[in-house]
């Protein structure tokens, strides 16, 4: 109970918000719009889970928005070339993993600061993409949208993938040795090294995994529209990091839980509809989201200080 206080408090905040919506704006829970919202949030959940692992290992990856766009473009081009959809999905995952491996090599191999490395790859990928594609949307063949399923089934599929991934990762971080290595390296990489764990190798694979998740998120996003957008994914890295931080992942590494990330993401995602129903101008959304992030960070800071004393 005490150990998960941070995650539970976010879940409670989400619960209160949902309760208020249920009381004052029951329309919010109408099936079709709710499913649409969840479907739109699903790729973000995938990215947030990935970036949570990166932050737990005491690194950061801000290139995921750009890598997401690169993956979208690759998957789109493959699909537009009339190749079967699974090939497009594999291409997206592969390109993502490759991009992640590049980040991982620079961060773990050369021991560079991840914020600087991923800033550089973020800008490089974004503008290389702009130059090569000129920002032109890629028309997808009819079979690509919603994986060729009816829309509702497709939406369920997208949400299902995100949920399945979350469950797998939450289980994996607790029950796999690899999960424990990530926490150990993020808490204290020198202690982990002395205990025979290879911190650099762990870091490398976390980045590769993050990249592959960018590929997955790109596909989950692409199938929601008839076109693939090479300009997409701007600001996604910030949304993902925000969800992780609000969900209780400590930027100092070694602490965090993926269920908390889910709560954090949903809390941030519910702000906008709540404002709409409350009749507040939608411009306030970002300001309130910012305030929530600030609150989370301050709460962590106060907690840490108390612990130290």
């Amino acid at each position: 109970m005490k150990r998960h206080f941070r995650e539970l408090s976010v879940a409670c905040a989400l619960g209160v918000l949902l309760l208020l919506l249920a009381l004052f704006a029951p329309n919010f829970f109408d099936a079709q719009p709710l499913l649409s919202r969840l479907t739109a949030a699903a790729p973000k959940l995938v990215l947030a889970c990935g970036v949570a692992l990166v932050i737990i290992s005491r690194q950061i990856d801000i290139s995921i928005g750009s890598l997401f766009a690169v993956c979208t473009t690759c998957a789109g081009l493959v699909a537009a070339a009339k190749l079967p959809l699974p090939v497009a999905i594999l291409a997206s995952l592969g390109v993502g993993a490759l991009g992640g491996a590049l980040n991982g090599l620079l961060v773990a191999g050369l021991k560079l600061q991840s914020i600087v490395v991923t800033l550089a790859t973020m800008v490089t990928m974004r503008y290389a993409l702009l130059l090569s594609q000129q920002g032109v949307l890629i028309n997808l063949p009819p079979g690509a949208q919603w994986f060729g399923l009816p829309m509702t089934a497709g939406q369920f599929t997208v949400c299902g993938i995100a949920l399945a991934l979350l469950v797998l990762l939450a289980f994996g971080t607790k029950h796999l040795a690899a999960g424990r290595f990530i926490y150990a390296v993020g808490s204290d990489s020198e202690a982990a090294r002395l205990a025979g764990i290879r911190p650099q190798l762990t870091t490398f694979w976390v980045f590769v995994f993050m990249g592959a998740l960018c590929g997955l998120a790109a596909v989950m996003n692409m199938v929601q529209s008839p076109q693939a957008d090479p300009n997409g994914g701007r600001g996604l890295e910030l949304e993902a990091i925000a969800a992780a931080v609000v969900g209780g992942v400590a930027v100092s590494g070694g602490r965090g839980n993926l269920w908390g990330v889910l709560a954090g993401l949903l809390l941030l995602a519910c702000i906008s509809p709540a404002l709409t129903y409350a009749g507040v101008k939608p411009y306030w959304e970002k300001a309130i989201q910012g305030a929530i992030i600030l609150l989370a960070v301050v709460a962590d800071g106060v907690r840490n200080r108390k612990k130290r004393n």
């Binding site: 150990r3 040795a177 150990a184 808490s187 204290d188 020198e190 982990a192 090294r193 002395l194 070694g254």
Partner: protein, 480 residues
């Protein structure tokens, strides 16, 4: 723990007063009190005949107290003149900088102490003794009446030492009082007028250097009764677990180490801070691999180039700073205990919580870890219990050689004697134990044999029945 209990110390203008004491005797704390970094909770300080209350670093600076640390605290990217100016000029952000005056003053001060250093040189490019000279120039420029030097010769060559001594003698001649901290007894007779010995946070004697000899100084430094009972050695040493032949590592500053550790014995590794003890342990554990000499484990020559290899060879290393390198504070103690044996206890990728719990419960019982259970996070434990968790992690690897680095540092008395008992039991069970400690009674009470390091190599092998005087004399490099 009180670092200082009762210290009386006086310094005249125009004298060099040496301060002597073994590791942890309270020298650094005393300096921090004099420079205003720490507040004393009892007693009085007088500077220039005036009682001083609430000494802060800024106030100490104003009163003419300057301290030259072992590692000069200069800004490496600024020039010598800028560094001196930063100490001497008022710190107002809008003040216009008078560059020519800055240079001139720096040149004058450097000339005054006979240092051949350009005021325009970047500090980064200066050698260690040159940086110390810049510090002395700063002190001089600030009109310091009290100059504290903390082991200034620790990293100097013979020739550089002579230069430094000449500067110190000049300072004395100009009426400055110098507090000179050193581990080298020969420097005291060369340089100091008086000497004060600290032991366990108390000043145990002050006298003129001419009235003391090295033997009487060492006696003052170590003279205390062993207040703790140590478990007796019960086992006969068996076969050789570890043998080192001319082992060296340039990066670690360790050279030509010859050492043997046998099964069932505790070898104490003594020496002063900076003698290379931890560095030797890090070589044996593959953290900074050796680049010279040979390592034999159970008679077989081996190379150890990573901690993984060291563990595979049956070496375990419980590091010195358990908060930084030992227990992972956020993780449960069960996870901490299995950290080094993942491949063995969890074949395949899945964790087996049942096996982990069992192992943790066994160690909690065997080592007497006080925790509410295997799931308690590391930071909920006291220092002594954290140390036991760290020990358990390494015992889980079933080592043949156990290297302990300051195993009872910062541990309370009760836990300390428990850890001593555990160490003795482990030796009895056939482990070879190499124990690094700065705690002289612990070395004497626990060791079957004592290796003393000085200047990166083992300079003396003593029997476990040696007394504190022998060990301290060897650590200080006194030749009979």
């Amino acid at each position: 723990m009180r670092a200082l209990k009762g210290v009386s110390f006086d310094l005249h203008g125009g004298e060099v007063h040496a301060l002597l004491g073994e590791n942890g005797a309270g020298k650094s704390t005393l300096i921090k009190v004099i420079t205003g970094a720490h507040q004393p909770d009892g007693g009085t300080i007088e500077i220039g005949g005036q009682p001083v209350r609430h000494l802060t670093p800024a106030a100490a600076h104003k009163l003419g107290v300057a301290c030259i640390y072992q590692q000069p605290a200069l800004f490496p990217d600024l020039t010598v003149a800028e560094n001196i100016a930063l100490r001497l000029e008022p710190a107002s952000p809008t003040r216009r900088v008078d560059w020519p005056t800055r240079r001139e003053r720096a040149a004058k001060l450097l000339h005054q102490i006979g240092a051949d250093i350009s005021p325009d040189a970047e500090v980064r490019a200066l050698s260690m003794p040159e940086q110390q000279l810049v510090e002395i120039a700063c002190a001089l420029g600030a009109g310091a009446r009290i100059v504290i030097m903390d082991e200034p010769t620790a990293s100097l060559t013979q020739k550089e030492q002579h230069l430094l001594f000449a500067v110190v003698k000049d300072l004395r001649a100009s009426g400055v009082g110098v507090i000179y901290i050193t581990h080298r007894l020969e420097e005291i007779s060369q340089l100091a007028d008086r000497v004060t010995v600290l032991r366990d946070g108390e000043s145990v004697g002050t006298s003129a250097v001419s009235e003391m000899n090295e033997a009487s100084l060492i006696k003052l430094m170590v003279g205390r009764e062993v207040s703790q009972i140590y478990p007796p050695a019960e086992s006969e040493p068996g076969s050789r677990v570890l043998a080192l032949k001319n082992l060296g590592c340039v990066a670690g500053g360790v050279r030509e180490v010859n050492l043997e550790v046998r099964a069932g014995e505790v070898v104490g590794l003594s020496g002063l801070v900076g003698a290379g003890r931890t560095e030797l342990a890090r070589i044996l554990f593959g953290i900074t691999p050796a680049d010279a000499g040979e390592i034999f484990l159970n008679g077989e020559p081996v190379t150890i180039s990573s901690p993984q290899e060291a563990v595979a060879h049956g070496i375990a290393y419980v590091p010195e700073d358990r908060r930084r390198h030992g227990v992972i504070l956020e993780m449960p103690i069960a996870a901490n205990m299995t950290m080094a044996i993942h491949p063995r206890i969890f074949p395949g990728a899945w964790l087996r919580f049942g096996a982990e719990q069992q192992l943790a419960l066994d160690f909690i019982r065997d080592l007497g870890v006080k925790a509410y259970g295997p799931e308690a996070p590391g930071n909920s434990l006291s220092g002594g219990n954290q140390q036991k968790v760290s020990l358990a992690r390494w015992l889980a690897t079933k080592p043949k050689l156990l290297i302990l680095d300051e195993p009872t540092q910062g541990v309370d008395v009760g836990a300390k004697s428990e850890i001593h008992k555990i160490i003795r039991q482990l030796a009895k069970a056939g482990l070879g134990v190499l124990m690094i400690s700065s705690d002289l009674p612990e070395i004497l009470g626990m060791s079957d044999r004592i290796a003393v390091m000085r200047g990166g190599t083992i300079t003396a092998m003593l029997s476990g029945k040696s007394d504190a005087h022998d060990v301290m004399a060897a650590a200080l490099g006194q030749t009979k």
